[in-house]
Symmetry: C2
Subunit: 452 residues, 2 copies
């Protein structure tokens, strides 16, 4: 068979389906062997559970290792269920300690224990170091294997040391510098070492290291890596002893997961734990139903509010025509502010201590938006339904935009300052809150203006 | 003064404000000199324009270069307006060609031309290479300076070559391999070169390179870097000749910008071009008003729909009580689906060609969600307002959830397949669309069930 240059995973998946339907496992194996590793991963992610297990068995040993490492832990765990015990043992031993820890969290306890026991003592110890830190901490995502150097060593000696350990470690491009007590005293890039005169001491080449503590949140540490464009972030314990490193590639994975989480929560759903197409409907359902029920409960508040003003509604039915417009605009204004501030928090541009500055920004912005929208509302509704109603609509939009922008901007800060995820007070939550508030404001203004 | 270990930029900014208020420029300069570079950047980003210019002048030459490079182009452009011409020339010459291109886009044309003319011929040529590609392409974000090697070279010769050029280039950790026509034939990691026997030929060490074309979108290329955890992505022209490299740190910046954009659009606003706190109210206003007006125009549709059903509303005023609940739930369901699929698109988990699979997933998920919510609605509304109304609410929620999830899931795919940003059909847009649809469904069901 010609090595096919496939770029479209859907096309690749279709071809493989065809081979499997024809029971042509050899054809499928040849096709898989010809595919670049990223395409193999893509096809595995998009396949159903059974097809995935069949495909995985067709991979060469090396390709299987690479592909397994790239899958999300829930998919890894599913695969393990379908594979032979000795194959599983090999794959498990071939993982990096941090990836192994991620998988252990997914596996049934008895499977995890059996696999851990089968590891060499060294590998067991490394895995346990990582497993010793709480889920969500950077200790769980760090690599406990690294090359260090010493401030009193020369550049030439350091290069020798790197050459000796080059096969064992995940990266050699940035070297933590530790003292005799294993305390971190700095960091030096391989480039600086290679560039220097061979006799230069590391103490003259090293820089102050940006670090994180092993119990710090993985997201915060990863954000640091991204912000400072680090290749390696040294991770220390409470006595500043070096316990691991977070490499930029692991940091990218952490950030990708964190961003998927933020985006999902802002859309009012729990994040998915695996790629969308391989997520069963029951998991999609579960990721959404709780939020929808909570939000519907909140929306029941709007029914109450409207009931209170039912007599007003009966008197001026035209008021009910504008209910969706009013609450929709309030919700949109609140969302805009909430999204902007949540993102600024995530990027570290804003902190909870900036609440006053955010308040001022949002009150002013909301008021300006309200002036424009309220002006339009007054004019248009006034022309069609009379200027009494126009005044009600205009005044409501002006007040509501100001309130919504302010509440939307401050909610994420409030969440952060009580150490909750800012996305917990997500856009749909703010929308629901603003809906109820908006209705109260609307009917109070209506009663006053229309003299009801 | 003691070197202060400041970790809180707000506190640092307060202290600096105090020095500036007291006209104690020396005190401020000492404080700034004691701050780590990331804190300096943070403080500059949070300062007002005038304070920023004063602070910037207090920095040492090196610190000024580092800080300037880290600022967003709009802030860089503002600073340049306030600085002396020769200082500006120095800073401009010190930037990497890709950063320089980003700044040129921000500057008034006559300033940009003057600055470009003052560069050395080499630097001018490099900058022009980058400026020759369209805005938003990876050609604009790549580094045109790199070390390459040749398949026929040995590992030892390659290390020599790296040593000779180590001072000039942005990274040495991954080396593109080119043939005699400068065509890219592979890539080799510095680690592989260091690890190999000195006489090994590069052709034995190199791997097939993941590449991007210079005219490809920067986001797509950066996503590739993140997905494959690359340190360097070689960029080629249409004849696969190497024209530049995208380093992982530049890729991170591209992704951060792209994600800020997605998040903002999903929240119904244009992305900000600078950090939130240094964004003036008029820019916040501008980033939001167009969306709000467009969405309000869409919401005017709901007024029309309600007008059509005004007689029904007059007959059964209780129907109006549930309007916010119905449209809110429909909007939330649509948002969830849209957010999930938009994220899956961004991560490459879903492609427009998967529309059928997405349709099936979302119809099933939406229907299941509708069953649960509709069931609750039927029971609760039935108990309080009678089972006729309960049936109306239940049936509406069931239909609406199914419609909303389907529309929400397919919209991002539709956008992508017409080559628009999926976030253009953002959550607020879907909400507005679902609002109008939901009202029509609601009143049609009400008329049928209640026999109006």
């Amino acid at each position: 068979m010609d090595p096919i240059d496939l770029r479209d995973p859907a096309e690749a998946a279709r071809l493989i389906d065809q081979f499997l339907d024809d029971d042509d496992l050899r054809g499928a194996a040849e096709l898989v062997a010809a595919m670049p590793p990223w395409l193999v991963v893509d096809v595995l992610e998009r396949a159903g559970a059974r097809e995935r297990a069949v495909l995985f068995r067709l991979l060469s040993k090396d390709a299987a290792h690479v592909a397994f490492e790239a899958l999300d832990p829930p998919l890894q765990s599913e695969l393990i269920r379908d594979l032979h015990a000795d194959r599983v043992g090999q794959i498990f031993a071939g993982l990096d300690p941090d990836d192994r820890a991620g998988l252990v969290d997914e596996l049934p306890a008895h499977v995890a224990t059996r696999l851990l026991r089968a590891l060499s003592e060294d590998e067991q110890a490394l895995t346990e170091t990582v497993l010793g830190y709480p889920t969500g901490s950077v200790g769980r995502r760090m690599t406990p294997e690294f090359v260090t150097t010493h401030p009193g060593t020369t550049a030439a000696e350091t290069l020798d040391r790197v050459a000796r350990r080059i096969d064992e470690v995940e990266t050699i491009y940035a070297l933590p510098v530790t003292d005799d007590q294993r305390r971190l005293v700095g960091i030096v890039g391989l480039r600086a070492v290679m560039r220097a005169d061979p006799d230069t001491l590391i103490s003259e080449l090293m820089n102050e290291a940006v670090t994180a503590r092993a119990r710090d949140s993985a997201e915060k540490a990863a954000r640091r890596v991204a912000d400072e464009r680090l290749i390696v972030l040294p991770i220390v314990d409470d006595e500043t002893r070096l316990v691991g490193i977070l490499t930029f590639d692991d940091a990218l994975q952490v950030l990708e997961d964190a961003e998927s989480e933020d985006v999902a929560r802002q859309g009012g759903a729990e994040p998915l734990r695996r790629p969308y197409l391989s997520t069963p409907v029951r998991s999609l359902f579960r990721s959404r139903i709780v939020w929808l029920l909570v939000l519907a409960l909140g929306a029941a508040l709007t029914v109450q509010v409207l009931e209170v003003f039912e007599s007003t509604l009966e008197e001026v039915v035209a008021l009910s025509l504008f209910v969706p417009l009013i609450i929709g605009t309030g919700g949109n204004t609140g969302n805009q502010a909430a999204t902007t501030v949540t993102r600024a928090l995530a990027l570290g541009d804003v902190r909870p201590s900036d609440a006053l500055r955010v308040l001022v920004q949002e009150v002013r912005t909301g008021f300006t938006l309200g002036l424009v929208l309220g002006g339009c509302g007054f004019g248009l509704a006034g022309l069609v339904y009379g200027f009494d109603l126009g005044l009600v609509i205009g005044a409501t939009l002006l007040s509501l935009c100001t309130i919504a922008a302010t509440v939307g901007g401050l909610m994420p800060l409030l969440a952060r300052s009580v150490r909750a995820d800012p996305a917990v007070f997500s856009n749909p939550f703010i929308t629901t809150f603003v809906d109820a508030t908006g209705l109260v404001v609307y009917f109070l203004i209506a009663r006053t203006v229309l003299g009801l």
